[in-house]
Point group: C2
Chain length 459, copies 2
């Protein structure tokens, strides 16, 4: 929804609040999507949105609560009576409750757990124990479980009895007497099969499932690959313990992409939207890499210092340092970012190491030669003829162009191999992106430049 | 699935092919997911996978066909008899057919269209006319349409009659006599409502829909935001013309993120996986930005040349050029990438321009001061005392540190504002990322450096 939509609505609701026309407010808000109500509430003060929240129909209020950000949820929980809190907790899905609990201070967590039924409390506690970023941490324990000898009509009765509280009913899971997963059946198959068919005949028995300890990004990417609405999560004994649904998988993909992008820009990943992060927190996410890269860039400075005397003799070479460093950095980034994305989408793995290097070698030769040719023409036509820079000898031009080719080749090889090596030793490859590669490549390109200068210009 | 899984399977199937044990092959392949069969086939020669494809059960063969890459699809279509092609085309969903047609040479397109039923052909032609990247281009016209006066039992009959050919049956669309969308009803609501309830009572009438010409990325992001399984697509008269399903939305999100990441690394976006792109194509995607950025970096060189004589006087300053340029580039990238990601997730819009700049200003002052302080300590303790570099006067140290603060502030402001301005004038903000920002910031940081040097050192 566009910005103006919320703005207009904000004014309307604000006016109605002044007039105490609560029934009108209730009817407007009830017609909106829960996500939009949560976004709208952000525009109000804590006092006002607490009032508005209490006007909402109870069931819908719980839906809106899930969509709110942590600060707003906390303010509401603090304002709630125990009865109000109990009602909301009762309506939440287990996985949403766990997500909320993970962000709340311990005092509020205690109040939330106290309001949950003993059964729900034990499920919450179980989910809280799975490692961060594991399939277990994003799964829900609310799914429809069927037995193979049920008829479709019985299965539908079962869904009708329990389905309202289940996160998805469209994929149902068939288990044996020991709760081991033996099949999956979709509601579509059951509708097409008709009331009299048995679940066991309709179910699909070649099942793709994941383990509770699998990485949540891998789980989400495979749901994307197989177009699954939900994927079953089993423990080490193949007992069904939960499911991951497509909406959580979409969130994981979007979050993981944001994290990769942040890491590639030398920012420590943050899980809050930019405009909601405090200035100090933003600083904390950005300064570590800036400091580290600043220190490493001083080595590049040392290289220049080491050649200072010789540079003074052929000072025309200094002017091409930024061009060589930047082109090297850009070439390296292109390769590293391509490889990082390939790794995270699962298109490339470490076993492709030499295949990737061989590709990059050929691409880098093509790129290096093209850039050197363009640069050669530019140095002759513009720098020498148009600007009459006679200090720029053919030997100097050769030095610049040869350095360019060598720098591009080395940058691309370094850029492509570092992320794969990082992945191999268990680091996040996204860290090996532009800023890091640039720093490494800057030093390398200068060393090459000065080496060529010494050889060709005898300085 | 891990690499070894496909490798082992490849060997097994290859052996069975030699032995002509086709029934065993058929039973192994039929138990696999269509996506995995497509990935497995990539390991075989065209001749072999055409043979294997013909062994598959016909219905399943069509599912596998959709999952294959364009080259393989083309090879298969060329090998198909008209009857075989007709069977596959008949089993494909409309949106998948359109995707395949868009990638095929015109000779094959004609053969595919000739095999489609007249009704299907007209739908394909209609979908082919929507602009690239529009909601119309990714929607499917196969959805279940209901009328408000139908009972749930009638609706289920309707799904049973037509549902097998519909891409999703879980969200059904209720239209009036002029096919205008008046409500949405889920299969879950219908199961819970029971056979005797009317569709009109169960349906949700506050509908979120999109227009055929809306941008597909916006559509996918709002499906993610609202956790929708499918979203209805209407024309300008609010007539229902199609739906976009969650699996296509997940693909769009993943593709758009890849595109953004590629643009941020100065690569022209490509829609093929890295290892399947030819060397020449990879070169074509990378060289334009490298050339452009190389040319612009020469301006930075001009700035150095302009100050060459003065630099020769205080040559100690040269050694800090890479550190200043890199730190400026990194600081600017952090801000630009944060803003680009915020824009593409819809967390930031142009109306936040001044709010963003004010945040970046405060963050940049914090970062700049921290970096300058660390650098000050390093220059004194390491460069002056440990390395005994007495040429490095306190005036020179002050110049370096003040430049650092100014560079970081300016880089962050430039980095944050360029993407927003690009978005405002209709450019893709992702282009304003690291490489572009680095080039701009390099020049700025040198100008600041030399200005401070002139003022403080009187060179």
């Amino acid at each position: 929804m566009p910005e103006e939509y919320y703005e207009d609505l904000y004014e309307e609701i604000d006016e109605l609040t002044e007039e105490k026309n609560y029934s009108k407010i209730r009817s407007i808000l009830s017609d909106m999507a829960a996500t939009d109500v949560a976004l709208l509430f952000e525009r109000f003060s804590a006092e006002k949105y607490t009032l508005l929240f209490r006007i909402l129909p109870k069931e819908f209020a719980a839906e809106c609560f899930v969509e709110m950000d942590t600060d707003m949820q906390r303010a509401l929980v603090e304002a709630f009576s125990d009865a109000e809190l109990g009602y909301v907790v009762d309506k939440l899905f287990i996985d949403d409750t766990v997500d909320i609990i993970e962000e709340m201070p311990s005092g509020i967590v205690k109040r939330i757990l106290a309001q949950a039924t003993p059964e729900k409390r034990s499920m919450i506690n179980q989910l809280l124990h799975y490692p961060k970023d594991s399939a277990g941490s994003i799964m829900t324990t609310e799914f429809v479980e069927l037995k193979p000898d049920m008829l479709v009509s019985e299965a539908f009765c079962r869904i009708r009895e329990t389905g309202l509280k289940k996160e998805t009913v469209y994929t149902c899971y068939v288990t044996d007497s020991e709760r081991r997963l033996i099949g999956v059946v979709t509601v579509k198959d059951m509708i097409l099969g008709g009331d009299a068919a048995a679940v066991g005949e309709l179910m699909e028995t070649s099942i793709i499932s994941v383990n509770t300890h699998d990485d949540k990004e891998d789980v989400a990417r495979s749901m994307d690959k197989y177009d699954f609405l939900a994927i079953p999560v089993v423990d080490n004994e193949n007992r069904l313990v939960g499911i991951v649904t497509f909406d959580d998988a979409m969130d994981v993909i979007s979050e993981e992409d944001t994290e990769d992008i942040e890491r590639m820009a030398a920012i420590l990943p943050s899980d809050k939207p930019y405009l909601k992060t405090s200035i100090f927190e933003t600083w904390k996410k950005r300064i570590p890499w800036l400091l580290l890269l600043m220190i490493s860039a001083t080595f590049t400075g040392q290289i220049i210092s080491g050649f200072e005397d010789r540079l003074a003799a052929v000072s025309v070479l200094i002017a091409y340092i930024p061009m060589l460093m930047d082109t090297g950095g850009n070439s390296g980034s292109q390769s590293s970012v391509t490889v990082i994305r390939g790794l995270s989408l699962g298109e490339i793995s470490f076993s492709d190491f030499f295949r990737v290097l061989w590709r990059e070698l050929r691409v880098s030769v093509l790129c290096g030669v093209t850039l050197a040719a363009a640069n050669f023409v530019k140095l002759i036509l513009i720098d020498r003829i148009a600007f009459g820079n006679t200090e720029l000898s053919y030997a100097a031009i050769t030095t610049v162009c040869l350095t360019l080719v060598a720098t591009v080749i080395i940058s691309k090889l370094v850029g492509a191999s570092l992320p794969m090596l990082a992945e191999k030793i268990g680091f996040d490859p996204a860290v090996m992106a532009s800023p890091f590669i640039t720093t490494v490549v800057d030093a390398l390109s200068l060393l090459i430049y000065f080496r060529f200068a010494t050889m060709i210009l005898n300085t």
